[in-house]
Subunit: 419 residues, 2 copies
């Protein structure tokens, strides 16, 4: 996850083929949404994770900050270095209107999420001043609820067959447990993790250090396209942006913050995956490692992590046991908490299509709900995160807690949900 190619935030758009627009739970932003426009513009001006920009956004809204940067007569921002400010001002003057970026992402079936949006993953607020200015996304998944039941699987690009096998195996197991696999789409462990989740008919999210329309690495174009259809691509950088070493490193904090825990599968000493793991620890997330032979340099970084206090895990059950134990973030353990009335109508339709038992395959539920299998799957994971749906073998059914079907369908809270 630390490799890169030469970087410049050029603005050449479609390098991934645009999928047919997928249904999205909230409408695309209107042109009157000035705060969204200003934040979209700022993602072209400020590098991801810039603490001074984050600090400035605590005292100014994005619209004001953008205006300040565009007007050379404005005084310097307190707490921001002169050189950095000069760089921002230069970019602010040369950055054209962000409407084109927003139109472009909408045409790709994606969105630009900002803090305060119903689907903004509030977990990222733990990043404080390094919280992303906004998130460019592609794919049908409801990011906030997905993030509630997500685990990061990360590791070396040049992994061993053992590492690739283990990553795929863990991803498959997590999918079977209804957990979303988050990774960085790199070669090696990341790719094996995404593929393991997809192969199990599960859900996966890729957090990129590039624009979500700009596949990196190139060899993963097909994989990224599948994730954009069946899961979600997430990035802080606007369309057309390329990764840099520092963008890779800063991307890792988003992976760590978004998820309930980070599992490192294989990593050398001083690997970028260890950055993600340490960020997870700092953020109070679970940090886990998969051991390997002590004779393997690719397990040395993981063993270092485990000696430093990370939890040793050997299978998906052990991961779920650990990350599933945060009571307040795991509503599924206590039964449904979100009444049907608060669900998006399309999600409520998938809920209606869910059998009590026996479980039905995703395709059948999609057919009953009148949507595509990819869209149905995204909504099933949302319903799972909310405690309405559960996986059973390769199918899905209503959660079996007391008499949840009638409760969930009536829209009332389940017995015990608030008890």
């Amino acid at each position: 996850m630390t490799s890169h190619r030469s970087s410049h935030s050029d603005h050449t758009h479609p390098t991934l083929p645009a999928p047919a627009p997928a249904p999205v739970p909230t409408p695309p932003p209107g042109t009157g949404d000035t705060e969204r426009l200003a934040r979209a513009a700022l993602t072209r001006i400020v590098e991801p994770g810039d603490e001074q920009a984050g600090h400035a956004l605590r005292t100014h809204d994005a619209t004001t900050l953008l205006a300040l940067l565009r007007d050379p007569r404005e005084p310097p921002l307190p707490g921001t270095g002169t050189r950095r400010l000069a760089g921002w001002r230069h970019r602010a003057r040369t950055t054209t209107t962000p409407e084109a970026d927003l139109d472009h992402i909408t045409r790709l079936g994606g969105r630009f999420l900002i803090p305060g949006d119903p689907d903004w993953p509030t977990q990222l607020d733990d990043l404080g001043d390094t919280r992303p200015i906004g998130l460019w996304t592609r794919g049908p998944a409801p990011l906030r609820t997905w993030a509630l039941r997500s685990v990061a699987l990360v590791g070396a690009r040049a992994c061993t067959p053992y590492g690739a096998h283990t990553a795929a195996d863990l991803a498959t197991g997590l999918s079977r447990h209804g957990w979303i696999v988050v990774s960085g789409a790199a070669y090696g462990i990341d790719g094996a993790a995404h593929r393991g989740a997809l192969a199990a008919g599960g859900a996966t999210a890729a957090v990129l250090a590039s624009g979500v329309d700009t596949p990196y690495p190139r060899g993963h174009s097909g994989l990224l396209d599948r994730i954009a259809h069946q899961g979600i691509l997430i990035g802080e950088l606007p369309p057309g942006s390329h990764p840099t070493p520092s963008r890779f490193i800063l991307r890792n904090r988003v992976i760590a913050a978004l998820t309930r825990g980070t599992v490192v599968v294989e990593a050398r000493h001083r690997s970028g995956s260890l950055v993600t793991a340490r960020a997870a620890t700092r953020l109070g997330r679970h940090t886990m490692g998969v051991p390997g032979p002590v004779t393997s340099a690719l397990s040395a970084g993981v063993h270092e992590l485990l000696r430093g206090g990370a939890t040793l895990v050997t299978d998906a059950d052990e991961i779920v046991e650990l990350v599933g134990s945060i009571g307040d973030l795991a509503p599924a353990r206590r039964g449904p908490v979100l009444p049907r009335d608060l669900l998006h109508p399309a999600t409520a339709q998938v809920l209606e299509a869910l059998p009590a038992h026996p479980p039905a395959p995703t395709t059948e539920i999609a057919h009953r709900a009148g949507t595509t299998p990819d869209d149905a799957l995204a909504r099933l994971y949302e319903l799972h995160a909310l405690g309405h749906a559960e996986r059973d073998g390769d199918g899905w059914r209503l959660t079996n807690t007391g008499n949840p079907a009638s409760n969930a369908r009536r829209g009332g809270p389940c017995p015990g949900a608030y008890g």
Copy 2:
């Protein structure tokens, strides 16, 4: 370490060829030593680790207990079950005088150590009522000082090449650091650990579940013979005894108690090595595990141990860092503490032969001290444990703390030793 063959404590003596008697630091017991004779007899009557026998030995000395067992008119022992007592009484009446066993062990260059002997490893006192009644030993090593700087390396019999390689590698590394490798002489990890220590010209001790004259497993006869010459064989059972499943399990507590820490290299779930590791934890010793692939059933037991709180170690340095941190048991870290006057004359002679620098090989030191290389090595490890000697590459030299040569040779404490 859990395999066995059919068991009966027959009394057929020499199944290992007797080596030329090696010099031993204390004289063999005289016939007037009734407590030693009684304890030797009790090792034929009571199974190792019998808590009720240990309890009886707290209120009676061994001579009295033996007399009680031999006299049918004596009342039952409080706290001892009727059937067990009947068994002891039967064995006590059929057990002839133990003088033959003591003569036999002396002829083999061995000893029968009992609590209170200068060379009794007082670490075993932590076992409470399951403390061995006595220890049958063969080999030139001073057991008590060796135990102060010893680590147990244990694991599966049917280990993988990875496990065998790792065990040998750790044993070599521990030897280079001047630590004594203790194991159970079984096939697999145990054998690899002993061989790794011997190959590095290091010291090793084998704790047996059989008599120290009765090689088990048969295929390790040569290895056990080498350990009897270059290290030490230790057992609770009298000469000629064969192992049983319960003897293997109970032997493990001695390995755990004798050493500063136990490292499990490979072990399946419910392996005997985990018994040793858990005994080490209960006794306040360090418990360590070497990770392996999560796909290997032979690492599953180790990973279980590590998830339960054992320390993950990947090389000898990490083991030494952990076990060497108990200040009061690691005098070598603070300089010599035992003045020369208290050393055995033969050990003092080896100290005289030690160069300040450059280091000399064991053979040269042995030649200068007028003894055999095996005997010199045993004494060098004793001097190492006491802080007088240190390894340097493949040789030995005086410890480099201030001006230790003169201090140690004069017999005075080093500056800072008591400061």
